[in-house]
Symmetry: C5
Subunit: 78 residues, 5 copies
C-alpha cells in the first residue's frame, strides 16, 4: 500500500455507468497526485492508506467497478 | 485513478482483432503521455479520469479486450 | 519481488472491514516508502522481500483482502 | 496503453516451455526499453501501441502465456 | 517484459509457506534491482527476460505462489 494525504476532491458528472457513487479524492503521494475512491468519509488533510490495481476493484462485490485506487484506512496520529 | 488532459488521438489500421472499435486518445498525465480508450466521446483538452490495468479491461464484458487504460469520467470544471 | 528495509509501523483505527488484522509495516525500497502487510513478525531494520499487486492479495484465502503489498520473506544475512 | 518505437529483437533459446512462439521485440518508450510480444509482424522503426500486465497475457487463449507486454496495433502515420 | 542482468542471489530462511523452492535472483534492470524467481538455472551475469505481476504468478499451477517476477528466458548473445 502507499501512504498519502488528501488534498482535494474531483467531481465527474459525465462518467461511465459502472462508476460507483461516492467520493473521489485527490491524494498526494510522494509528490505525485492520484485519485482514489473513499468509502470511509475522509477529510481534507487526512493521512490515508491506499491500495491499487485489481485489489482496489475487488472491494466492490455487487458489480464490477472501474476503480483502481481505494482508500482502505486512515492512519492514526503518531 | 489518475487525472490527465486529452492531447491527441491515434489511429491504428493494423491491429489485433480483439481491439474494440472506438477512440484511442492520447492523454497527458504529469508530463507523460499514455493512450486510453474513450467510451465517453471526450474532446481535445478535456480533463479526464483514467483507470488502468485489468480494471480497465474489465469494462469490456462481451469479449476480452486488450485495453489497459480507460477513460472513466470527465472532470467537472472547478 | 523487491527488497526493502523495515523502517516503521502504521496503525489505522478507522479502516474498511476487510482489512485483515496484523501488522502494517513501512518499508523503504530504493529511497521510496511503501506499506506492506507482515505475516511473519518482522522487526525494525530487518531486510525483507515484498511481493505486490493481486499476487499479494492472493495470500489471503479466506476472504478478499485489500492488500497489495506483502512481506513474503526475511532476507538472510550475507 | 503506451506508444513506442521498435528498436530491435531479442532471441531466447533457453526459455520456459510456456513462452509462445513468435517475435519478441524491443520497444523504446519514453527513453526506456521494454520487450513486447508481436503478433502482427511489425518492422524495425514502426510506431506501435502496447498493452501490459495480465491484459497482455489474456490475448493468449489456448494456454497461459508468461507475456506481460503485447503489441496490439501499429500506429498510422499522421 | 523487461531485460536485465543477474547480479546476485538472495536466501530467505524465514518465509511464508507458499514461497516455492528455487532460486531467488537479483536482477539489475536499468539501474534498479529486483528479485525474480528463476526456474531455468541461470548464472551470474546472464542476460534474462523477466515477466511481472500476476502473469509471473500464473506460472505456478499447482498452488498459488507469491511470486510477482519470473525469469522466462535467457537472452541469446547477439
Amino acid at each position: 500500500m502507499i501512504r498519502g494525504k488528501i488534498t482535494g476532491r474531483v467531481w465527474s458528472s459525465k462518467h461511465i455507468e459502472t462508476l460507483p457513487n461516492g467520493a473521489l479524492l485527490e491524494v498526494e503521494v510522494a509528490g505525485n497526485t492520484l485519485v482514489a475512491f473513499d468509502p470511509l468519509g475522509c477529510a481534507m488533510g487526512e493521512e490515508v492508506l491506499i491500495t491499487q490495481g485489481s485489489v482496489a476493484a475487488a472491494f466492490f462485490t455487487k458489480h464490477k467497478a472501474p476503480v483502481d485506487a481505494l482508500i482502505i484506512g486512515s492512519i492514526d496520529d503518531a
